[in-house]
């Protein structure tokens, strides 16, 4: 590997930025600024945590799924999320992070995950609405990341987005079935779930780019220059709304926003003000299920400690057995 001296850094940095500007990929062994590495570890780890915590609200309905086909779909989906978490944690490891360390940070609330998973799933219709709205919003957020400047993340996102789009279709298909072929009680369930998940889904895109509630962290600007973020929060949110309103019409549900209306001048839907106080409350740990979600993750991790220790001890025994002739010399 090249020797990285302070004197060489400006050249390396210029080379790095040229690579990014040309829409080429940064790979694990390439030089990268510390800030880029840290930003990516934080971004990818939060995404990984979200996949893992996101298993909980949906797993809540696996055992009660009212048909075996829906049960299989849901179980497969939750399994996919575990898989996404696995390869996202692997992507962080290409940046020098450690999965165990990141898991500790998650259960000690030192790193965040998507706030959407701090809302409860209260009926089986929530399973469909999560697929439709939450996965739909996630896709809007994540599709541009398939072009992230960091190669391993970008490639991982292609597969994740493919699976997410499959989940979204399945969720929507469940809702269509309930609305079109189901009972009146089922249609009420779908409407109720839509009303509960609509606003939290809009919050998934993060704080607005401008105005009183705008984030002051400055992450967005730097992340866009590094091409680890490709669109602003508000652009992505608008895209989601524009995509979703016609789907709601086809489904026959009413989105809970009286201000929602097509604006022909803008060529977009206008929508009402998001409750940013609620957003801040949930992000800072005060949502309906924050404590419960973290407690479950912590319990699984701690209850499994003896198993991981046993596996390590067994592997170590075998490693030493395998190498006995050499070790004995």
């Amino acid at each position: 590997m090249t020797t990285e001296t302070d004197a060489a850094t400006p050249d390396l940095e210029a080379h790095f930025q040229r690579t990014v500007d040309r829409d080429q990929r940064i790979e694990p062994r390439d030089w990268m600024p510390d800030g880029y590495r840290k930003t990516l570890i934080r971004q990818v780890a939060q995404h990984a945590h979200s996949e893992i915590i996101g298993m909980q609200p949906e797993a809540n309905w696996i055992t009660r799924a009212p048909s075996l086909r829906r049960k299989a779909i849901l179980l497969a989906k939750v399994q996919d999320e575990a898989g996404h978490g696995l390869y996202l944690y692997s992507a962080t490891e290409t940046l020098g992070a450690d999965r165990t360390d990141l898991t500790e940070k998650l259960i000690e609330s030192r790193q965040k995950y998507s706030s959407i998973f701090n809302y409860p799933t209260l009926t089986f219709a929530d399973v469909g609405v999560i697929g439709w709205l939450v996965d739909g919003a996630a896709i809007c957020n994540q599709v541009p990341l398939c072009r992230s400047s960091y190669g391993p993340y970008a490639r991982g996102m292609v597969r994740i987005c493919k699976e997410e789009s499959f989940h979204q279709r399945q969720g929507y298909e469940l809702l269509m079935t309930m609305m079109q072929r189901g009972t009146e009680a089922q249609r009420r369930m779908v409407q109720d779930a839509t009303e509960r998940w609509w606003w939290p889904s809009l919050m998934m895109f993060g704080p607005p780019d401008t105005g009183d509630a705008a984030s002051t962290s400055g992450h967005t600007q730097q992340s866009m220059a590094w091409k680890v973020k490709r669109h602003t929060n508000d652009e992505l949110r608008q895209r989601f709304v524009d995509m979703t309103v016609p789907q709601a019409d086809v489904l026959g549900v009413t989105l809970p926003d009286p201000e929602l209306a097509w604006n022909s001048r803008r060529g977009h839907y206008d929508f009402g003000e998001i409750d940013w106080d609620e957003f801040k409350q949930v992000v800072s740990g005060g949502g309906p299920c924050n404590a419960e979600r973290l407690a479950q993750r912590r319990r699984a991790h701690e209850d499994g400690a003896w198993v991981r220790e046993a596996a390590a001890a067994h592997a170590a025994k075998h490693a030493s057995h395998d190498h006995q002739p050499m070790d004995a010399s």
Partner: protein, 393 residues
């Protein structure tokens, strides 16, 4: 006959404007896919659609239906207990693996329950009949034990067809039977314990089931044979997964060794039941199709494993006879013992020496007599479906 993963391939998504608004990167990935990696049975077709489910000549459809329920219920209820492990496992790799095993078993259950329904339809039920109200479904498994061919003898026997507005067989059986109509062995319904108990139960279950499925690939029912062939591949992996963890935990730390031993000790009282043939299994596995003496002997209280192995039924009919539909489970005991002996040796664990848990009046899971855990399991599994009996999902 071959059963494989089916995904209907590209299909349009009504109301979607997705392609129009997404980035090029999205368009490249949104196009329909026919990947076989999606979980079996998540497609839009009935599990057995397109399969010829007519009964082989001379087969008692009610018996075949009951037998498929036994194997299907084992898979369904075991899958339920694995589903309950979701988000509680020690590592993400285990989350993926255990969900995968649960999905495989759920897929097997769906095929077997569907096969059961089709076999039942073949014995005098009007095709396309409306589904039956749960209250009207047939008697308990005991009722038909000695009376082959009686219409409606299997649970939900009068049931229902697959036309529009009717419930698929698999869902009728899973959600609208009562506890006494479930025919799974008691091992699979027990409350979950710790990770070692999960591994012990999975080791016992998959070793037993693999031995059964291997033989069932030669079943005289081509549908059951195909379902078994698919299951063999899956359960081979399940057994391997459980065996590897048994070795890791048994030969890991002192503490893990203790817990793994405790896990084995906890499930072992339910092992004997796995090898006792129910009358239906005996009839369907009999040579020349003649009935052997219906002797659904449950493990007797106080008898040890060793005594059970000397049970005179132990050399009953296997699958040598091409007309045999089922496997007499007592014939797979030897294979089970051999496999367990190998795994336990590598794990430095002791084979538990405990008596088989008796049933009630000699009746156990196959007879619809379960443990107290079963009622809660079904209350959970059936709650939504029963709250919306006319619902379509």
């Amino acid at each position: 006959m071959k059963l494989g993963c089916r995904w209907p391939g590209p299909h349009s998504w009504e109301g979607s404007e997705v392609n129009a608004v997404f980035d090029n990167a999205y368009e490249a990935i949104i196009d329909g896919d026919s990947d076989a990696r999606w979980a079996f049975g998540t497609g839009f077709e009935d599990p057995l659609s397109g399969v010829d489910t007519s009964l082989p000549a001379g087969v008692d459809g009610a018996d075949l239906a009951a037998y498929c329920l036994m194997l299907g219920d084992d898979a369904l209820i075991m899958s339920h207990r694995l589903q309950q492990w979701c988000t509680s496992l020690p590592e993400l790799e285990e989350e993926v693996a255990v969900a995968n095993i649960g999905l495989d078993l759920l897929g097997q259950a769906r095929l077997l329950l569907s096969r059961s329904g089709a076999a039942q339809d073949g014995v005098g039920v009007r095709a396309g009949a409306r589904r039956t109200d749960p209250d009207e479904s047939g008697g308990t498994p005991d009722d038909d034990a000695g009376r082959p061919g009686r219409e409606g003898a299997t649970p939900a026997g009068q049931a229902r067809g697959n036309g529009p507005g009717t419930r698929p067989h698999e869902d009728h059986y899973a959600y609208f039977r009562d506890e006494r109509e479930f025919r799974n062995v008691r091992l699979v319904e027990l409350e979950n314990g710790d990770f070692a108990e999960l591994i012990a139960r999975l080791l016992v279950f998959s070793t037993w089931r693999l031995a059964l499925l291997n033989r069932l690939t030669a079943s005289g029912d081509p549908v059951l044979s195909a379902i078994a062939a698919k299951g063999v591949k899956e359960v081979t992996y399940h057994r391997d997964y459980a065996a590897q963890w048994t070795v890791r935990l048994g030969d890991g730390t002192d503490y893990s060794h203790q817990r793994m031993q405790a896990g084995l000790d906890a499930v072992w009282p339910y092992v004997g039941e796995l090898f006792v043939a129910h009358a239906v299994e005996q009839r369907l596995s009999a040579r020349d199709g003649t009935c052997v003496t219906p002797q659904a002997a449950a493990p007797k209280a106080g008898t040890t494993e060793a005594e059970e192995r000397n049970h005179p039924d132990a050399d009953g009919a296997g699958m040598d006879d091409p007309t045999a539909m089922s496997v007499d489970p007592s014939t797979v005991r030897e294979e089970f013992d051999d496999v367990l002996a190998q795994v336990l040796k590598a794990s430095t664990l002791q084979r538990p020496d405990v008596a088989a848990l008796p049933g009630v009046g000699g009746r156990t899971g196959r007879d619809g007599v379960h443990t107290e855990a079963m009622g809660y399991l079904l209350a959970e599994m059936q709650s939504v479906a029963r709250a919306h009996p006319d619902g379509v999902w």
